[in-house]
């Protein structure tokens, strides 16, 4: 646990001192939000229906930047070799990267949720607890999958756009589930279906966290 905290702290401090990822994620999220919601101005009735889906597409696209940087940032100055020599399992390194990515995506969500609420008239305050649950579990679902695929992308230098090729098709179920759950959380009454989607996101996150811990060793091996 101490080593996990150590790794996460190191990532956060490095990013804080030389912000590269967080501003890029914020900018991509904002630009995507603007690009997707601009055409909705001619469809005022559909804005609220479409808002949640567009929100989670923007989160997924911006989260891909975090996915790409997850393990690639260790390659600078040969730090990756040093990490592989530490007496710490690759599963712990994966969890540390997952947490770092999740914190970055959480910041992004804090920015985009109010923005989409304003742009699409989505009432995010209807069920704040439910919305937080969707945000947290959707975040973990995206980052657990994305961090594992980020480890895979480390070995795919010859394939341009590798992270998009891998993350987008595998992450679409998360977008569907999170969008549905967000839409239902904005309704006056929380339907039974809302909890089913929240459970789905939880299961997705749990499955891919387990898969990540097991498979990351194979993904980063040389």
């Amino acid at each position: 646990m101490r080593k996990l905290v150590c790794l996460v702290t190191k990532d956060l401090v490095s990013e804080w001192r030389m912000p590269r990822l967080w501003p890029a994620m914020a900018l991509v999220g904002l630009v995507v939000a603007a690009s997707l919601t601009l055409p909705l101005e001619v469809l005022p009735e559909q804005k609220r229906q479409l808002g949640p889906a567009l929100l989670w597409v923007a989160i997924l696209l911006a989260a891909m930047l975090a996915v790409e940087r997850s393990f690639a940032s260790e390659r600078e100055e040969g730090a990756w070799e040093a990490v592989r020599m530490y007496p710490v399992g690759m599963g712990t390194v994966y969890l540390a990267k997952l947490l770092s990515n999740a914190l970055a995506v959480a910041g992004l969500e804090a920015l985009l949720f109010p923005l989409f609420s304003a742009l699409t008239d989505l009432p995010v305050a209807a069920h704040p607890g439910g919305l937080v649950a969707v945000a947290v579990l959707g975040n973990l679902a995206i980052t657990s999958l994305g961090t594992l695929l980020g480890a895979l992308v480390l070995g795919l230098r010859h394939l341009p756009g590798a992270s998009a090729l891998l993350v987008l098709p595998a992450g679409v179920p998360v977008v569907l589930a999170a969008a549905e759950a967000t839409r239902l959380a904005a309704e006056p009454l929380l339907a039974q279906a809302f909890w089913r989607w929240v459970q789905y996101l939880g299961v997705f996150a749990a499955v891919f966290i387990a898969a990540g811990i097991v498979l990351v060793d194979f993904a980063v091996e040389e």
Partner: protein, 279 residues
């Protein structure tokens, strides 16, 4: 850097303080061993059937031409590359085991440090990852010993190449490893830094640490190492000292000869079809 009698944070029991004298019979498996090691890139075998053993406290230098596989060999010995044939063993166990990494130190071509963290922060991070009991104290001690006390709070990105090498060595020794693998330690250093580094390696050698490093500098190799091996055709062979060979250029590196007909004839006699060569 490691004080005799000091117990490292990983509870390893400290380094032996006596350098290898070449006569002591090993009571335990060698700290570093390769058996029939093979590693290929695509269809090209860079290492093949390589056998190597370094007893505790020995310093081994590996020399070879560019592209001979020195970096590949050291990375295989460090457990960073998976062998395609044979095995690498640490203290009798398969290399790469998480529990044994605390006994190993590796410094590659790059420093292994985080550019946006200071020297002290990097050393503290490494100390924590290795489970050293007093990470902050150990980091300060190593920074002072590496002559980086004045730069301890500077970010690594602001350091010169020589200082990064010092910081890299300090990071590799933060947990007082019993084995240190170093890939071309003298590259890109000025005379002062080179002399300092040579002094550090000599100090480690005297304290009983098993050292294995690669270098192009033949005189440094013979000066520092107990044994100098040349890597050629994917295998290690003892190198001859530069003065003993009539050919100074490439001295110490055995030259490949034309096809050994004796083996070709033996293979043919055993019934193997040897393509392109008449037995």
């Amino acid at each position: 850097m490691h004080q005799p009698g000091e117990t490292p944070g990983n509870g390893d029991g400290g380094l032996p303080t006596k350098a290898w004298d070449g006569t002591t019979a090993p009571a335990e498996p060698p700290p570093l061993e390769a058996i029939g090691l093979g590693r290929r890139f695509g269809t090209r075998w860079v290492l093949w059937g390589l056998d190597f053993s370094a007893p505790a406290g020995q310093c081994v230098a590996i020399i070879g031409a560019n592209g001979s596989g020195k970096t590949t060999l050291l990375r295989c010995l460090a457990g960073l590359l998976r062998p395609h044939a044979g095995q690498v063993r640490w203290f009798g166990h398969l290399a790469g085991k998480v529990e044994l990494r605390g006994r190993m130190g590796f410094v590659g071509h790059e420093s292994g440090l985080y550019a946006q963290l200071s020297v002290l922060e990097n050393l503290r991070f490494a100390a924590r990852m290795y489970g050293v009991s007093d990470p902050a104290g150990r980091a300060e001690q190593l920074a002072a010993q590496a002559g980086l006390a004045a730069y301890a709070h500077c970010r690594v990105a602001q350091l010169s190449q020589g200082m990064r090498q010092r910081a890299a060595l300090a990071r590799a020794l933060v947990h007082s490893p019993r084995v240190v693998l170093w890939d071309e330690p003298f590259v890109g250093l000025d005379t002062q830094a080179t002399d300092w580094l040579a002094g550090q390696l000599e100090a480690l050698r005297r304290r009983g640490c098993t050292l294995c490093f690669s270098t192009h500098e033949l005189h440094r190799a013979w000066q520092l190492a107990d044994r100098v091996l040349a890597l050629s055709a994917g295998r290690l062979q003892p190198a001859s000292p530069p003065d003993a060979s009539p050919h100074q250029e490439g001295a110490g590196v055995p030259q490949a000869t034309s096809p050994p007909q004796g083996l070709v004839k033996r293979l043919a006699a055993a019934g193997c079809r040897v393509a392109g060569r008449a037995a």
